[in-house]
Symmetry: D2
Subunit: 368 residues, 4 copies
């Protein structure tokens, strides 16, 4: 097996220098399985995905590849290199404020019209034609007469690579976070393969992220033709893996997640050998039950609730310290929820404004 | 006439200090005209609206008020006080990246159901009931069990004040900009009163800004009951005035715009005296013809096209200087458009990435 | 014992709102011991000192005070409230880039001339006169005809409060750090009382920080009059305590450090009761042996060396992951030092430019 | 004449990409005159120097070169590409806050010892030896065992290039500024050649900027050997040209400044042809009379005093608008100076904290 490397230009800086991505390709000798696209670090501070790609490339040396794999680490050079103080300010475009993970193209396809033109095709032909259309829409967007924003250009170039693959994995992290997976409801069984204890089952909808931008048009097509009496399973899978906390590189832990990805790829036949998923309890909730809790007051925050550990109703999430109120009972306030939950991630800083998102918690959690 | 001042808390900082707004109220002795709400500086660097409010309050001393006026300058204390280098980083929340002017509540009202409950009411009662509902939805949002983000809380508090008024004016500026007005299509004649040469006629739709958040539910209601055979004009007016460039205070020019607002208020009967609008040519285009032009390359920018001056097709917008390409013909590139336009604003910095929004231009401009 | 609270204005924001500090004062009934000044959070992200002040005020309820104590938590409201992304950008003035802890006044006193004027005074009178002079210089700086910068004004107001005290404690933290103490060489024995394992013995010099700004003029005076044959011990003590990592509030750990401060205050007679210092091994090195290690290359960083744990020569500090070099031996580089050290702190982010300060390490460490 | 271009690596980004500078060299056929080094854009937003280098390179095509010229535009790629909101945050390192123009090496040479070793040399040999020593010190700094910071590395690489030249010109701009020149007192007559109306005569001292880092060691050497009875004029000249306002590219104006530089180079024999300096009144003051005026209050700022225009005592610099104080006389405050001055530059933003540097003004101005 041979990893080949290329460099792709996705923008230009003010100094004229190119913004480029490293792209790694591993080709199957005889393709018999889905193709795979994996990217990491679209948010600048979420670096652990690079370590997972590193470990995965190393691990893959020992397996027989039956589908092509494309890997794009360091997928947002502008965001990764943008420091502000000691940290990486990589969550949004520093000029526009737009979240780098909300820049993907919503194709807004008129499915009925599209299908009317293509209904004579066989399933295989239909899939190829639809994929071509998706790529063409991306290309049109990139060639817009009025230009395209920095972030949208980067995202649509990434999206074009993703559209060429059957399996798409986008590697992120939370701020201070346990591992969790965004998995579309139609593909829920995939959650049993990754080395990830918590899964968010997301609707088959476009919310703006990479995974959604990839599977949503296919889901639309599938639903539409089902309404016309034709049954065709959705031919692409797309997931976002949240690998723990941002601003953290941990090579050993990266191997754990690389093996989880390997187990999923094995299940899908991308590698010939059988790789078993890690044995671990796995839990899930629906996205509607994934709640953001915002601080009802400003102050200094002691985070008490551990991410990834169930928290019974009435147990404190945080203490808010307000020294300006010393001497009153408001000097120290414990914040609690009225219902059981599993805290999945919390804010990165130990001081907050009123309204800062303190925690994201799963409620109505069930085992899967 | 007496201006009364109050302070409204709209948040808390990490140190515990309150974020507050100054609110000025001027009450009519006998109310016979619409009430007015004017705010400024929701984007931190767009300070000129404060000067306009200052001049307007001074001018109003000389007139007879027939409707109540509420004025909220410095409407975004967090954004105004957030410096980054020598400039104000006040366009978006520094934590989330969300544009401060996209935080208003989309009520998402089920108009059919609401009207079903209220159809027996007279027009006056219907308006009062609908206003109450809007305020109630805002209040529910502010009291959400899971809290509310810093920016959303600030916006919905402002929006609640705006919902109480019949005329809403939101004072903004562009980056480097000529004066222009966002005016909903249903209210197009209002554009003849302000001291503003260029008008964008916007659809009667929710795009997320203050003006839209105010008029859109009323437009929905009006359309719906028209479909039921009942005719009721939209009882609120809402505009965004773009007062030129950001990071600029100019008191004399502020008086010009204060007089324009006065002319509009006079037309609406809010002041008893007749104030004539400034005589000036006024132009407009539809929002769909308002184009963003993104730089096709990175580099240093010489802005050539004057804002507010018609630019024939083929005349250069900018020169892009690329010293890294000195010696080639790409060292200096003139960028041109293929169609006539009026440049309305351009980017604030003289260096750009590929994809930076260089200019916004009006096309298909017509006199009004 | 009664804690009284006041609010001190130290600046004004662009919106006109005051920047204020909460100040807590605890008065001794009969003063027989030195007075104390403790401040925290001069760097915006270094919040744990507030928790220590909170715990210390609570603990002090149980002791008999023989000297007055002034406590100023949240000492830099501008820095504390300045977020950039999810973190607090509180290390330097966002406009000027000046480190908030390098804004203190260097008095630049002509000691010879000053002493010439005051040599007839007794030791007690001399100390009082010198203190008055220091306060007067601060006041002159604050009243400068040409104004004074935002950061300098804040710092000199804090410094004035510190000059009034005999013992000054400035509470900081590192980025990712173990606890350590900055202690002037002339006061080295104080290091045995705080609950802090590592001490940096700093020269009796002005480097710009609060502690130095307080003790340095006294040390100059003491040295000068010694050269004139008069012996007077330095009557003030000033320390910087680094309480671990920034962006962290931990109340239990804060109690440990509050008790360490209490032990020092007990030793100095500020509280009547005997409080023993924690029994723990304590180590030190001279400031000249405190080394900053800068990354020789850019890349993703896995921090391997634990802060506070001795690291033998040749053991890796970090791995630098360079995915762009995958396939070469440079894809993963271990960085090592040629000498034994104790890593005290490391950079907060997991990605670095070439030249980023990766670690600060103590070398030539000895037990104290 | 042929311009040759090279690319110099001066750092590495977190993604692994090189930070590089474009370097242009123009060689004299027969060297009979001093060599020249010109750099631009060390502060990221100060872009106009690039346009001046562009125009200068074009103009030089028409002249006979008698000394080598090295030109380095875009000298700070990290700073130039660092946007924060719509502006370039390029004044200081975003991680450390250190001003990019205060990173140059202070050689701290023991001149007496150095001269003791070299006193037998002829003037020409002495100059060559001292230059070698300066370069060697730079090299040692770059090779430091503990590494070197990102900004220091960039600066010392630039400084090494500058040390190789006899004439050094550093192109900057102010925030909102008229053109002015930093000129060392020993070289005051040079001020008559550039197209610049205002000159600051700076002491022959190290303040941290490029120009000072270049001439200061030579001035030290010259002074020292003069004290030993040996007279040798300072063999290097170094200037900082402030080309107006930041965030501005203006090619026509750049040509004016390029011609001023050409006039100086002509005077120095670097070009064979005679180029006359622009006829214009030129004024100067000493650096001690260059005053920074800080805002005594926070608020919105209307800048009234034009930069480059003499301002009599008692005339207003600015109006500070304080809407929170509407109704009181403090709603609008005019700030004035008690002495005549020439405002040279003012702050870039229209809102300030208390203590923000509002204006820099020359006092005690004289014609030169």
């Amino acid at each position: 097996m041979r990893v080949s490397q290329a460099s792709l230009k996705i923008g230009e800086l003010a100094t004229g220098q190119d913004l480029t991505l490293p792209i790694f390709s591993i080709k199957a000798e005889n393709v018999s399985a889905p193709s795979v696209y994996i990217q990491a670090n679209v948010h600048g501070a979420e670096v652990q995905g690079n370590a997972v790609i590193y470990q995965l490339m190393q691990l893959l040396e020992g397996y027989t590849l039956c589908g092509d794999i494309t890997l794009v680490p360091l997928a947002n050079p502008l965001g990764i290199n943008q420091k502000s103080g000691e940290f990486t300010l990589g969550r949004f475009d520093p000029i526009t404020g737009v979240n780098w993970n909300r820049e993907y193209l919503d194709h807004n396809i008129d499915i009925a019209a599209w299908y009317q033109e293509h209904l004579a095709l066989s399933d295989g032909e239909l899939i190829a034609a639809f994929r071509s259309s998706l790529l063409e829409f991306c290309q049109q967007r990139l060639n817009s007469e009025w230009g395209i924003t920095t972030g949208h250009q980067q995202a649509v170039i990434l999206q074009s690579m993703a559209h060429r693959a059957d399996i798409v994995i986008d590697l992120h992290t939370g701020p201070k976070s346990c591992k969790h997976l965004y998995c579309p409801e139609y593909d829920a069984n995939a959650a049993s393969y990754f080395s990830i204890p918590y899964t968010l089952l997301i609707p088959n909808d476009f919310g703006g992220a990479m995974d959604e931008s990839v599977f949503y048009p296919w889901w639309q097509l599938s639903e539409y033709i089902k309404s016309k009496g034709r049954d065709m399973p959705i031919p692409v899978s797309a997931f976002t893996l949240e690998l723990g906390s941002q601003e953290n590189i941990h090579l050993e832990d990266a191997e754990v997640d690389a093996k989880g990805i390997l187990a999923y790829l094995s299940e899908r036949g991308v590698i010939a050998e059988k790789v078993k998923p890690e044995k671990m309890p796995r839990y899930a909730c629906y996205l509607k039950d994934y709640k953001k809790y915002h601080s009802p007051l400003g102050g200094m925050v002691e985070y008490l609730a551990e991410v990834g550990e169930p928290l019974p109703a009435g147990k404190p999430l945080v203490n808010i310290l307000r020294l300006d109120l010393y001497g009153s009972e408001k000097a120290l306030t414990s914040l609690k929820l009225q219902q059981d939950c599993v805290p999945i991630l919390h804010f990165a800083s130990a001081s907050v404004y009123q309204g800062t998102e303190l925690y994201k918690v799963m409620t109505n959690v069930f085992e899967i």
